[in-house]
Symmetry: C2
């Protein structure tokens, strides 16, 4: 009697949180913009109660912030954040491979290959939004394979930020950065036998990513913003 995933409990809160998160991370709601509860509640067709709980959840996830009695805002993107995200990501992804290295099996190999194919497919199809998700899914396979639930938890929060940055980048420039062969070396080394080389690849991979993202941020004119 296995193979059945539990039926999804549907509470308004959880669905609202998912929908809102998706709208923010995909860039449909602009970073820095304000959310007003009454308007959102009406849009979703629910009262403010569950909506507020969903908002509270997203605040804790780090993609919203609120000032009491004043307003709730989508977080904005800063260069410092990008630096931090990539630096810690390099560290964590290296850690993930160290944990994983001697336990990589057929399952891991197949899953990584599968997701890499999915990634190149979205790039070939020119579907930029899908390619963002596919790239995150590709890297996510590594974290999932470790079986390390805390590591996975941390990755998921970083993942949100990355999605936000890349979506903003894409919205601004219309094109995505990664080339079709951007993960070939990564994939080959991840399935190979040279951990030190894999470490090096992660390092350069992250440096490239950080540079690209920061170049985009430096280039854009500072938005009016509500901050001093």
């Amino acid at each position: 009697m296995d193979g059945f995933s539990r039926v999804a409990k549907h509470t308004f809160r959880s669905r609202i949180a998912d929908t809102l998160r998706d709208a923010i991370l995909s860039g449909n709601i602009e970073p820095g913009s304000q959310l007003v509860e009454t308007a959102l509640a009406e849009q979703f067709g629910v009262s403010r109660g569950p909506l507020r709980e969903a908002i509270r959840q997203l605040i804790e996830e780090g993609i919203l912030e609120t000032v009491p009695y004043t307003g709730t805002y989508v977080i904005d993107i800063t260069v410092k954040d990008v630096d931090e995200i990539y630096s810690i990501r390099r560290n964590l992804e290296t850690f993930a491979f160290e944990q994983l290295w001697d336990r990589r099996g057929e399952g891991f190999r197949n899953e990584l290959l599968r997701r890499h194919e999915a990634l190149t497919a979205t790039i070939d199809a020119g579907d930029d939004k899908a390619s963002i998700l596919a790239e995150l899914s590709f890297h996510g396979a590594v974290y999932e394979a470790t079986g390390h639930s805390f590591l996975l938890r941390i990755w998921q929060s970083l993942r949100g930020r990355l999605q936000l940055y890349w979506a903003a980048h894409h919205r601004a420039h219309g094109i995505r950065g990664p080339r079709r062969d951007g993960h070939d070396a990564y994939l080959r080394l991840a399935l190979g036998d040279d951990l030190a080389a894999m470490r090096g690849e992660i390092e350069s991979h992250m440096r490239r990513g950080a540079e690209q993202t920061k170049a985009f941020l430096d280039g854009r004119e500072p938005r009016p913003g509500r901050r001093a």
Copy 2:
């Protein structure tokens, strides 16, 4: 016109979240036990609205979990969690020192010394509860000094877990593990010039910590619990 911290906005939610978190992490509320909203709301003298939002926040912090329409429970402690926490903590604390190493200044040195003295003072005084917080504060100084806000954020979530474990350990055995000189080598190396030695110290420090905590967990009889 500096030196004034912003006046604390007092919303019920934030105060409830703080109080509840403290009660859970310090062990006043037993791991695994159920929280019922109506009872808590009455205790705090507020309605269920703000209380639910506080709970939502603590769920997102990972110290509560909820099953829709059924109940809200304090997370329980497992051996796997301990292993994961210490393994990732070793990694992060090493990362913190790498980030920090060449930028350590007088401020860092003084702060670390200060907190180390505070730690030994609580141990000398036999104040076990305070020594738990002091030890967390001592290690926290390293993360704070990096100026890396994401790293700090992650540390704070790990910190909560550690506090929970140590408090449970203390409640069960009445005594705390760490000896008075448990951090002498750590402190000396953290202020020294040998990063490789510091790495080694972190490694053995974490191994000791994990062993102690796991020994406690293995030793306790499995509690009835609501899980299969």
